[in-house]
C-alpha cells in the first residue's frame, strides 16, 4: 500500500480511538444519573460506533483497537472482566468478514444486521453469565438498553460520516482492506 493510504489508515485509527476515548470519558463524568439511574438506560454508543466503522472501514477499527477499547470499558465500568470484550471481538470479526457488497444494499439491511448482532451478543453474554452464576440485572432493563442502542444507530452512522469521514468503500477497494490485522 502506498504511503498516502497508510497515512489515511493511521488517521482513521486515531479517529476511532479518539471517538471511543471520548465516549468512555463522557460517561464517566459524574452527573445526576450516577446514583439514581435514569428512567431509560443510555445507549451503548461504543458498540454502535465500533460496528459502524468495522463494517465500513475494517482497517480503521482493527481487532487490537477494538479489544483494547472494550477491555478498558470493562475495567472502568466494573463489568465482568473480559467477557464482553471477547464477545465484541468475535462479533466484529463477523462484521469484518462481511461481503462489502452488503453495504450497497442500502441502510435498512445494515440496520437489521446491527440489531440482530447486538441481540445475539447480549444474549450470549447473558447465557455465559447465567452459566457462571454471576448475578444479573433484570431482563427488562437490558431490553430497554438494547432498543435505545438500536434506535440511536442511524445517528451514530451519520456522525461517523460527518465527523470522522468514514464512508463506504467500493467493493474492489474493500478486498485489499479486508484482511488486515
Amino acid at each position: 500500500m502506498d504511503s498516502r493510504g497508510a497515512l489515511r489508515r493511521l488517521a482513521g485509527q486515531a479517529g476511532y480511538l479518539g471517538a471511543a476515548a471520548l465516549i468512555l470519558f463522557a460517561r464517566m463524568i459524574p452527573g445526576p444519573e450516577s446514583g439514581t439511574g435514569r428512567a431509560w438506560p443510555g445507549p451503548d454508543l461504543l458498540f454502535a460506533l465500533s460496528f459502524a466503522i468495522a463494517l465500513r472501514r475494517p482497517d480503521f477499527a482493527p481487532a487490537w483497537a477494538v479489544g483494547g477499547v472494550f477491555l478498558m470499558q470493562d475495567i472502568l465500568t466494573g463489568a465482568p472482566f473480559g467477557l464482553w470484550t471477547a464477545i465484541a471481538l468475535l462479533a466484529f470479526e463477523l462484521v469484518r468478514r462481511q461481503d462489502r457488497r452488503f453495504l450497497e444494499l442500502g441502510f435498512l439491511p445494515e440496520w437489521l444486521f446491527f440489531a440482530g448482532l447486538l441481540l445475539l451478543a447480549r444474549l450470549a453474554e447473558r447465557a455465559v453469565l447465567f452459566v457462571a452464576l454471576v448475578p444479573q440485572t433484570a431482563f427488562s432493563s437490558l431490553m430497554q438498553h438494547y432498543f435505545v442502542t438500536v434506535a440511536i444507530y442511524p445517528a451514530v452512522v451519520l456522525s461517523c460520516y460527518l465527523l470522522l469521514g468514514v464512508a463506504k468503500l467500493s467493493p474492489d477497494q474493500a478486498v485489499t482492506y479486508q484482511n488486515r490485522i
Binding site: 470519558f25 460517561r27 464517566m28 463524568i29 459524574p30 452527573g31 445526576p32 444519573e33 450516577s34 446514583g35 439514581t36 439511574g37 438506560p41 443510555g42 481487532a63 479489544g67 477491555l71 478498558m72 475495567i75 472502568l76 465500568t77 466494573g78 463489568a79 465482568p80 472482566f81 473480559g82 467477557l83 470484550t85 471477547a86 471481538l89 468475535l90 470479526e93 455465559v128 457462571a132 454471576v134 448475578p135 440485572t137 433484570a138 432493563s141 437490558l142 438498553h145 474492489d172 478486498v175 485489499t176 484482511n179 488486515r180 490485522i181
Partner: protein, 314 residues
C-alpha cells in the same frame, strides 16, 4: 476485476485468525479467573483505574462542575416555584427544629444518666467523587481516597446524611464505591419504630427494595430505615432512608442520601468488633482481631481510644 489478492494475504489470513482466537481465549480466561479468584482480579482492576484516572483528573473535574452548573442554571427557570416551595419547607422545618432542640436536650440528659459512650473510633475520611464508573447495569462511583488514606474494602460510605454504599475495590489513591442502588448491593437494615430486620437490596432504580421482611403489617410508609450493623461490616444506626410503598405493593426505601448530587462522600472508618468493654480486664491488643489491614494507625490509636473510655467509666 480487482479480485486477485496479493499473495502475502493468503498467509496473513490464517495467522490473523489464530491471533484473534488467542486473544479471545485469553479474555475468556480472564473472565473465568475473575469469576474464581475475584479479589485478586478486582485488585488488578483497581490498580488499572488507579493508574488511569488521575491522568484524566484535570478534565473530569471541570466537566463535572460544568454539568452541575448547567443543571443549576436550568433550575433558574423554575425559580419562583422553588422559592414558594422553599418558604413552605422552611416553615415546616422551623417546627422540626424546635422539636429537634427539645429532643437533643432530652437525649443529652438521658445519655448523661446512662453514661452511654458513642464509639470513639467512628471517624471518617472525606473524598471527592472523581468519576461515575457505572453502566446502565451497575451503579458505582470512583472516589479520590485510597489505600494511602488507610481505607479498607467494605467500609461504609455516606454523604454526611445518609448511607450511600460501600467500598469495593481500593487502589492506592482511588477507590470504587458500590452504591446501595446497585443491583448487587445487599445491606442489613433495621426499620425503626418496629425494630424489624430486613435486607436492603438495590434494584438499579432510584429506590432500593426491602427484602426478607418478617411482618409487613407492622411497617408503614415513612418509617426510618437505619443500618443494623449485622455482619459487623457497617456500623449500626447509620440513617439509610425512609420506607415508601411501591405501586405494586412492595416496600421500597427512599434513600436519605442525595444520589442526584454525589460530590463529597465520607468513608466511615470502622474498626471491626467494637463491643461494650467487658468487665474483666482483657488485653486491648488481644481483643482486637486486627483484621482491618496492615495499616499502622488503627492499632496505634487503640490504647488512646480505649483509655479515656475506661478511665472515665471507672
Amino acid at each position: 476485476m480487482a479480485r486477485e489478492r496479493p499473495s502475502d494475504q493468503d498467509f496473513a489470513r490464517p495467522l490473523r485468525r489464530i491471533l484473534l482466537g488467542i486473544a479471545v481465549l485469553v479474555l475468556l480466561g480472564l473472565f473465568v479467573l475473575w469469576r474464581i479468584d475475584n479479589p485478586r482480579v478486582e485488585r488488578l482492576r483497581a490498580a488499572v483505574v488507579d493508574r488511569i484516572l488521575p491522568s484524566f483528573d484535570w478534565a473530569l473535574v471541570p466537566a463535572a462542575s460544568l454539568t452541575r452548573m448547567l443543571r443549576d442554571f436550568r433550575s433558574y427557570a423554575k425559580l419562583y416555584e422553588q422559592n414558594q416551595e422553599l418558604r413552605r419547607e422552611l416553615q415546616r422545618l422551623k417546627g422540626w427544629r424546635e422539636a429537634a432542640l427539645q429532643l437533643e436536650q432530652k437525649n443529652a440528659a438521658l445519655l448523661e444518666l446512662n453514661k452511654v459512650r458513642v464509639s470513639p473510633r467512628l471517624t471518617w475520611v472525606t473524598g471527592r467523587v472523581l468519576a461515575d464508573s457505572g453502566s446502565p447495569f451497575r451503579k458505582s462511583v470512583l472516589l479520590n481516597v485510597g489505600r494511602r488514606d488507610g481505607v479498607v474494602d467494605g467500609w461504609a460510605v455516606t454523604d454526611g446524611l445518609g448511607l450511600v454504599g460501600r467500598l469495593a475495590g481500593v487502589g492506592n489513591s482511588t477507590s470504587r464505591v458500590i452504591l446501595l442502588t446497585d443491583s448487587s448491593s445487599r445491606i442489613p437494615v433495621t426499620i425503626q419504630p418496629s425494630g424489624q430486620r430486613a435486607i436492603l437490596a438495590g434494584t438499579n432504580g432510584p429506590f432500593p427494595a426491602l427484602e426478607f421482611l418478617e411482618d409487613r403489617e407492622t411497617i408503614s410508609p415513612g418509617d426510618r430505615v437505619v443500618s443494623s450493623g449485622d455482619g459487623r461490616l457497617f456500623p449500626p444506626e447509620i440513617l439509610v432512608g425512609h420506607v415508601v410503598r411501591a405501586r405494586g405493593g412492595g416496600l421500597l426505601v427512599r434513600p436519605a442520601a442525595d444520589f442526584a448530587r454525589l460530590q463529597f462522600l465520607r468513608v466511615l472508618r470502622t474498626v471491626p468488633v467494637e463491643q461494650p468493654p467487658p468487665p474483666e480486664p482483657v488485653p486491648a491488643a488481644g481483643a482486637d482481631p486486627a483484621a482491618a489491614g496492615p495499616d499502622a494507625p488503627p492499632p496505634a490509636s487503640e490504647p488512646t481510644a480505649s483509655a479515656p473510655a475506661g478511665g472515665s467509666d471507672g
